[in-house]
């Protein structure tokens, strides 16, 4: 039975799941395509409409979902590590809210180039993260206090974003849709900068796992081992904000994936074992985030919600409920 919990088995299962969902994704939509046909057209573009839709609409949309999900999950895991708070999530620490405001600001004020949008998101996310972590520091990043501080920051920035939306009526519809979070209409243009960013940030995070692992120890112990905890926390936070901001710039503020994915993986890897090596947990978390987000987008397309079906809504529904269940367990485990 224990073999089922082997990291490689889990990784293989998740990857297989992603491939299956990807294929399903290619098949679904207004233009009905059979699986065999989709498979055929994926490799030979015969110039038909169906092939066009497949290559230019469905495939990039699905890939965007995969990478956004991985980014959000990694971002959440990094926050959980650097704050040692199991409730960490880019949405619940205000990072997503700040990034949302930054992105919305440049979209309404300028006709921005892609890099401007992403940098504005990163900047907004950094500001929000700084506020939240400064507020939460007094309480030593304690569980609920950090999250509630983050919620306050998040509400503030989302209210400011709503104000922007209302002041700039012409972009109201598109901003509103983006604020719900989803992947409809996301194409190769977004994917072209999304994947290098996320792969780079992900690899960087993987490279510093040894240091990050030390952050999970008591601060005094880590410092005794010669780890500059402040510096590595800052680097971890920077990577986390970068990942979250990239995700927001593509898909809008999608909450809870960053919280849920690491916890599902901790459970899958045998919850009893106290310390799971980050070098294992990290890639698995990314895969888990990818499959959750892709699954939500798939469900959004499959459900009869119209052609603008928002994946963000389904993620919030699923993520919020999981949060309520998991947060209870996580906190009671800590207090006992």
């Amino acid at each position: 039975m224990n073999d089922l919990r082997h990291p490689l088995v889990i990784a293989a299962t998740l990857s297989a799941g992603i491939v299956v969902l990807l294929l399903g994704h290619l098949q679904i939509g207004a233009l009905h395509t059979s699986l065999a046909e989709a498979w055929q057209l994926l490799w030979n573009d015969d110039g038909s409409n169906t092939a066009f839709v497949l290559h230019e609409v469905r495939l990039p949309r699905a890939l965007n979902a995969v990478f956004t999900g991985a980014a959000l999950a990694l971002s959440g895991l990094l926050i959980q590590i650097i704050t040692r708070n199991p409730l960490g999530d880019p949405g619940l620490t205000g990072v997503t809210g700040g990034a949302t405001f930054g992105v919305a600001l440049v979209i309404t004020l300028l006709q921005p180039a892609t890099w401007t949008v992403v940098s504005a998101g990163v900047l907004g996310g950094c500001v929000a993260a700084t506020i939240t972590f400064t507020l939460a520091r007094g309480g030593g990043f304690r569980d609920i206090q950090m999250v509630l501080s983050g919620v306050a920051v998040s509400i503030f920035f989302l209210a400011a974003t709503s104000a922007l939306m209302i002041l700039e009526r012409s972009s109201m519809q598109s901003l509103y849709y983006w604020m719900i979070g989803g992947f409809s209409g996301k194409g190769w243009a977004e994917f072209a900068w999304l994947w290098p960013m996320i792969v780079t940030a992900g690899l960087l995070a993987l490279m510093i796992t040894r240091m990050l692992q030390m952050l999970l120890l008591e601060d005094a112990v880590a410092r005794g081992l010669g780890v500059r905890t402040g510096l590595w926390r800052l680097i971890g936070a920077g990577l986390s904000v970068l990942l979250a901001a990239a995700a927001v710039a593509v898909a809008g503020p999608i909450a809870f994936i960053g919280f849920v994915a690491p916890h599902i993986m901790r459970k899958a890897l045998d919850g009893d074992r106290k310390s799971i090596p980050l070098s294992i947990l990290m890639p698995l978390t990314a895969l888990c985030g990818a499959i959750l987000t892709l699954g939500a987008d798939f469900a959004a397309l499959a459900l009869p919600l119209g052609n603008r079906a928002p994946a963000g809504v389904l993620v919030t529904l699923f993520g919020g409920m999981t949060f309520l269940v998991l947060a209870r367990q996580v906190m009671s485990r800590q207090s006992s």
Partner: protein
């Protein structure tokens, strides 16, 4: 004696002054003479705008402010949680969900071509508060049920309750957003404005259906003020004062939910008023229960009137909805109270 009179009279005076200032402010300029004239004569010209638009709107702001402030006060005392607020606790989220659903249903059943200025105009205004109450009360019960802790330390932990409320709020909000998307483009815009918490184009026809709710709410809180006062003490002291906790607490929560829900029915979810006002009253140093209720009513009304006026003039001719202004003020204060609360 005159000190006591002044203490009680100062708050209505503050509100009166603010309202008169607010009558003058707006996209269309008006002079003090216009304001004065419109209050005593048949309105015409600039004075017409004041009497036809601004006066009803300010009345709506006052009512909404009283509703949310009292709802917040009751919740904070009954739940022993200084972070309690109708918005944060899902009451507004639940009320919004049922109202937006009703909006979507009425749009689907009776498609109209007529233009409306507030999205709730699609629904008969008299039943709006009831629709809101169903959603608001269910959401509150859900939050309370989910944050109840079993075992030896049974009871509610304020922070955990707040967190649960926030998450439930996020879930409800996601559903509302999906519903709004399913509407036609024109109604989407109205729904977005409504969801931000707006007093745009509110007049006496929106206000009258909620009048009984206001009256019943005020009477209930006055009748129950002794219990409310006792609930500020610990459970045993409250019981020894002869308060029936099993009856008083649920009753008070229902009163709070009704006030908040009918407030939502008028203006949409105006955030943080219920959080801000009791806190301000506490900072001012108000202790006596009856005076606390009195002060909260007027500060609540003044806060909403002031925020609405600010929203009207800050980016004129475009309006910033009042709910956005109160959220921008309220969120930092929420963080402040959170930090204070932990330190003590």
């Amino acid at each position: 004696m005159s000190g006591t009179v002044l203490k009680w009279a100062a708050w209505p005076l503050l509100l009166l002054v603010l309202s008169i200032v607010s009558l003058r402010m707006g996209v269309t300029g008006a002079s003090w003479a216009d304001v004065w004239y419109s209050l005593g004569h048949a309105p015409q010209g600039q004075a017409g705008i004041i009497a036809d638009y601004r006066l009803p709107r300010i009345s709506a702001a006052i009512v909404v402010g009283i509703h949310f402030a009292l709802a917040g006060l009751i919740m904070q005392i009954v739940l022993r949680n200084p972070l309690a607020d109708p918005t944060i606790f899902g009451i507004s989220g639940g009320a919004s969900l049922t109202i937006v659903s009703a909006m979507a249903v009425s749009l689907a059943l009776v498609p109209t071509d007529q233009t409306v200025s507030a999205s709730t105009d699609y629904i008969p205004l008299g039943i709006l508060p009831y629709i809101a109450l169903v959603g608001g009360l269910s959401a509150t019960l859900l939050v309370l049920a989910l944050s109840w802790e079993r075992g030896p330390g049974r009871g509610f932990s304020p922070q955990r309750m707040t967190l649960t409320g926030v998450i439930i709020g996020a879930i409800l909000n996601a559903i509302v957003m999906a519903l709004v998307l399913s509407m036609s483009e024109a109604s989407t815009e109205l729904a977005i404005l409504w969801l931000a918490g707006s007093l745009y184009a509110r007049d006496f026809s929106h206000l009258l259906p909620t009048l009984p709710w206001t009256l019943i709410g005020l009477v209930a809180i006055v009748v129950l003020s002794r219990s409310l006062s006792a609930l500020r003490l610990d459970v045993h002291s409250a019981q020894s004062l002869g308060v029936n906790l099993r009856l008083a607490r649920p009753l008070l929560i229902v009163v709070a939910a009704s006030l908040a829900a009918s407030g939502v029915a008028i203006a949409g979810p105006v955030g943080f008023v219920g959080l801000l006002v009791p806190y301000i009253a506490k900072v001012i140093g108000v202790r006596q229960m009856s005076y606390q209720i009195w002060v909260c009513c007027f500060i609540g009304a003044a806060l909403v009137v002031a925020s609405d006026t600010l929203g009207r003039i800050i980016a004129a001719p475009v309006e910033v909805p009042v709910g956005i202004i109160t959220s921008l003020i309220g969120a930092p204060l929420f963080a402040l109270i959170l930090n204070r609360n932990l330190r003590s």
